[in-house]
């Protein structure tokens, strides 16, 4: 597969034709900082952090937009790169709350520690939903920005909390446009876009309407690509573990991780390696599962109708009654209705019961509905 060879930081690296310099470096485990790049989005070149030096090329090209070529000699760090990268990052940080980035105690703080030494309680770093999971934190650590030379722009920006499942907090937005590109390239709806100019630039909908009033299908593909905490789910519970399974809604069969904590489903995450969905999910799959699985109306015990009312029963009692009553009928008098929602194994034993035990081929499900 590897059909070209380039040199990055003095190391020979194999890559495939069509890869960018950034992709070639990532494939070889060479880190180049970036905030706007995302594997399934088109190259954007917006954050200006992936600058590199390439022999025989002028200036500092962005690795994410430069195609890798055979024989290329690339350097990912130098005094010139560091200087420009540092300045670019400072500019990004002027519009982002920096408390979580500057504090030297950050790495020792747990997620629920109260920070009283450096910042007001209402503005402490652990309030950010992306804390410990923030790509900006990683980049700041790599580049090493400890103080801003430019005054921060602290004007409050709008928060759109109209969507029931996720919030847009523009105070944390770094204008990387990943969300906008996801909406245009992945879902191809284009509900959100970058609007206005200069300091007023922001992610917004057509006519600046709240998200809920637009054609947004609420798939959350924008949210999962946000590198900071500007788009985040309203229900955040960190799962203790995740289990890979397949969505229960439509026939597409998206692979998903179910987050689990204390015996309950905490949330859902798409599986990037999923053969059908490649990480993508729709509104029902991403946001419509935990609540019904954990719902208080779930049936938790067998029910038997007595004098027109349901009464709770034990499995013994319920199964004995089913066997006694259902077992009286054979052949044409009885039917079994199986389920397009249940597993193959559930369906197989159901039709086996109909045919081998009840002696009927009256077995069907709602395939036609």
């Amino acid at each position: 597969m590897s059909d070209i060879t380039l040199t990055i930081n003095g190391r020979e690296v194999k890559a495939n034709r069509g890869m960018t310099v950034l992709e070639a470096a990532q494939a070889a485990d060479i880190y180049i900082p970036t905030l706007c790049h995302y594997p399934d989005l088109e190259p954007y070149g917006g954050c200006r952090l992936c600058l590199v030096e390439i022999e025989k090329m002028r200036g500092l090209p962005t690795a994410c937009t430069t195609p890798a070529a055979d024989g290329m000699v690339v350097t990912t760090g130098s005094a010139a790169i560091d200087s420009v990268r540092h300045a670019s990052l400072e500019l990004i940080l002027t519009t982002h709350p920096c408390d979580c980035l500057e504090c030297h105690r950050r790495h020792r703080c747990g997620p629920y520690d109260v920070c009283l030494r450096h910042v007001a309680v209402t503005d402490r770093c652990v309030t950010c939903p992306a804390n410990e999971d923030c790509e900006l934190q990683q980049v700041v650590d790599y580049v090493g920005v400890h103080k801003l030379r430019i005054p921060r722009d602290t004007r409050p920006r709008e928060i759109d909390a109209s969507n029931p499942f996720f919030t847009i907090d523009r105070n944390r937005c770094i204008l990387c446009a990943r969300c906008v590109r996801a909406c245009q390239e992945i879902t191809c709806i284009g509900t959100i876009d970058m609007s206005y100019r200069g300091y007023a630039m922001k992610v917004s909908t057509f006519g600046d309407l709240p998200l809920i009033e637009t054609d947004c299908g609420s798939c959350g593909e924008c949210m999962v690509r946000c590198p900071v905490g500007a788009m985040f789910p309203k229900d955040i519970i960190r799962p203790e573990r995740e289990v890979r399974t397949v969505c229960t809604y439509c026939g597409v069969g998206c692979s998903m991780y179910l987050g689990v904590k204390d015996g309950k489903i905490t949330g859902v995450r798409g599986v990037r390696e999923g053969p059908v969905n490649h990480g993508r999910l729709c509104v029902k799959g991403r946001f419509g599962i935990a609540e019904f699985v954990n719902h208080p109306d779930r049936l938790t015990t067998p029910l038997i109708r007595k004098n027109g009312r349901f009464e709770e029963a034990s499995w013994e009692e319920a199964l004995d009654l089913v066997v006694a009553r259902l077992g009286k009928y054979r052949g044409d008098e009885v039917a079994v209705i199986s389920s397009a929602k249940s597993t193959n194994e559930d369906n197989y034993v159901m039709q086996k019961l109909a045919r081998a035990v009840l002696g009927t081929n009256n077995v069907d499900h709602c395939a036609r509905l």
Binding site: V246, T248, C250, P275, R298, L299, D332, Y348, L353, A367
Partner: protein, 547 residues
């Protein structure tokens, strides 16, 4: 599925979801895929956006995909055969058919070709309402783009002539050689997570697992030996036949798992009556659904998050479902409950201790699942047919031969829907889906956020029709058919053509299927949910609780 079985010999999506990206042209007919299969909708839109794929949408409703389409054929509900035969006549007349493919892989072509003379362009225009020039443009685009894929769903099948519709689609694909290649094919997108699997497993009245006919003596013997029981060689009744038989008292007991016919089946009030008349009715579900409320015994089932097993998706891909949490309360996995009932009835062959053991039996008795095991599914997913443990699975069907040998061209006559509008019921009701809800809403109605997007039924009605009836946007209306009446809020929209209204069936408060027509296709037994004659009138007061 019956239509594809006639034409090709097996009824399933011929190609894979990933294939859509390779199509030069996609004809999406009778499918609102951005609502019903959102991820396939994303694939389709992104293929169009990249400029590689031209999209033709055929749908009476102005669905979301229309804005991505090169050509939109807005035919009248129920006129698909005429539209498709019209497209094929243009293709044949203009010499755009793939003669080599027809010669080598098809049969009965001459009779089919002869039948096309019944579909001249002016007749097609008159019956379907689509301008002739658009039919010609669509025919040329589909026939000259290689490869070209067809996607369809219930808009094709839920008609009294649904099988004809499907065979017309199969004709069109064969006529242009669009079978057995990447980016081509005839692709029925299955609606539910495991509807393909339920069919594959033999939860159908005429076949065992893997579509092995119950009437075939050799198959019967094989299953009798494997199961150690005498088996019935007479095909049983479909769901659409079972309910009327229950109503007549001929079927006396039903064991139902995880379905909600009270809302999902046509002429739903008749269906509810039927279930009430049963001597004994067992329902197994995760919620006390509208159907479970009618049961004598309700058995609590574990949800998909609480059990192991497999689902088979629309492209025949078998994937592992894994238990994430313990079953809530005293609920149990469906397979365990069914096996308990069988064992307590004294049956042998239900001593399964895990779904993996059940899959081992499925693989042993089902040629197309022969190579599938939980061990393999731990590392990969497999598209059937997968006959042996070494077989990699099959992404594209019919690459060299059809399952039945040659592809069968079918000459088709147009049959109008069973119920057409008249003076008393002047409008056509067609059913569709909302992105934010799923089938009868048993699960999605429990999710507050989804209800915020869509909390109630909306009757999508053309503003012209609404004006004639004096109905304003958001006003409560009553929709009346020969079978029932349903109250819901009117939504005035050009998405519905004049003379046609659209409703979902996600909302128990507005049970749309009390209106729909149970008349069904004689072969597939699929009811005509896409065309019912109705009238709309102002409702005096809001009778619907919302939320």
């Amino acid at each position: 599925m019956a239509g594809l079985a006639t034409s090709f010999g097996s009824g399933a999506m011929t190609n894979s979801i990933a294939d859509i990206n390779e199509a030069a042209c996609v004809l999406a007919i009778g499918t609102n895929t951005t609502q019903a299969h959102p991820i396939i909708g994303m694939n389709l839109r992104s293929a169009v956006k990249k400029g590689k794929t031209k999209l033709i949408v055929a749908n009476p409703l102005e669905i979301g995909l229309v804005r991505d389409a090169e050509i939109w054929l807005r035919h009248r509900a129920g006129t698909d055969v005429v539209l498709l035969m019209g497209l094929m006549k243009v293709i044949v007349d203009e010499g755009l058919a793939d003669e080599k493919f027809i010669r080598e892989r098809g049969e009965n072509f001459d009779a089919f070709k002869d039948s096309l003379r019944h579909y001249p362009l002016d007749l097609v225009e008159k019956v379907t309402g689509v301008p002739g020039a658009k039919v010609v443009a669509a025919a040329r685009l589909y026939a000259t783009s290689h490869p070209a894929a067809i996607l369809y769903t219930m808009g094709i099948t839920q008609h009294t002539h649904g099988t004809d519709n499907v065979m017309a689609i199969a004709n069109l694909a064969m006529l242009t050689g669009n079978i057995g290649k990447p980016g081509s094919g005839v692709n029925p997108l299955r609606g539910q997570n495991n509807v393909q699997g339920a069919c594959d497993m033999g939860a159908l009245p005429n076949v065992y697992s893997g579509y092995q006919s119950v009437a075939d003596p050799r198959v019967k013997e094989k299953f009798e030996t494997a199961w150690g029981a005498a088996l019935n060689p007479t095909p049983g009744k479909t769901l659409t036949e079972i309910m009327p038989l229950a109503h007549e008292g001929k079927i006396k007991a039903i064991y139902l798992m995880g379905e909600n016919p009270s809302l999902s089946d046509p002429d739903a009030s008749h269906v509810r009556e039927a279930m009430q008349r049963l001597d004994f009715f067992v329902v197994q579900d995760i919620f006390l659904s509208e159907t479970a409320r009618l049961a004598d015994v309700v058995l609590p089932a574990a949800s998909f998050a609480e059990k192991d097993g497999t689902f088979t998706n629309t492209e025949r891909r078998v994937q592992r479902v894994r238990k994430a949490i313990e079953p809530v309360g005293d609920s149990r996995p469906d397979w365990w409950i069914t096996c308990q009932i069988a064992k307590r009835m004294g049956a042998k062959g239900f001593d399964f201790e895990s779904p993996a053991q059940i899959m081992a039996e499925i693989a042993r008795l089902t040629p197309s699942y022969g190579g599938i095991s939980f061990d393999r599914l731990e590392k990969e997913s497999l598209q059937w047919p997968c006959p042996t443990p070494e077989h990699p699975g099959t992404a594209i069907l019919h690459t060299e031969l059809f399952s039945r040998g040659k592809g069968h061209f079918v000459a088709l006559d147009y049959k109008p829907p069973a119920e057409l509008p008249d003076a008393e019921y002047p409008l056509v009701l067609t059913t569709d889906r909302s992105l934010f809800h799923y089938h009868t809403g048993t699960m999605t109605r429990k999710v507050k956020g989804l209800n915020l997007f869509r909390k109630e039924e909306l009757v999508a009605i053309n503003p012209g029709d609404a004006a004639g009836l004096g109905i304003a946007d958001g006003e409560m209306v009553r929709v009346v058919s020969r079978r029932g009446r349903v109250t819901a809020k009117a939504r005035l929209t050009e998405a519905s053509p004049p003379g046609t209204i659209a409703m979902t069936f996600h909302f128990a408060e507005s049970p749309t299927n009390e209106l729909t027509n149970p008349a069904f296709d004689p072969v597939a037994k699929t009811p005509e949910l896409k065309v019912a004659a109705v009238r709309v009138e102002k409702a005096e007061r809001a009778a619907v609780a919302t939320g």
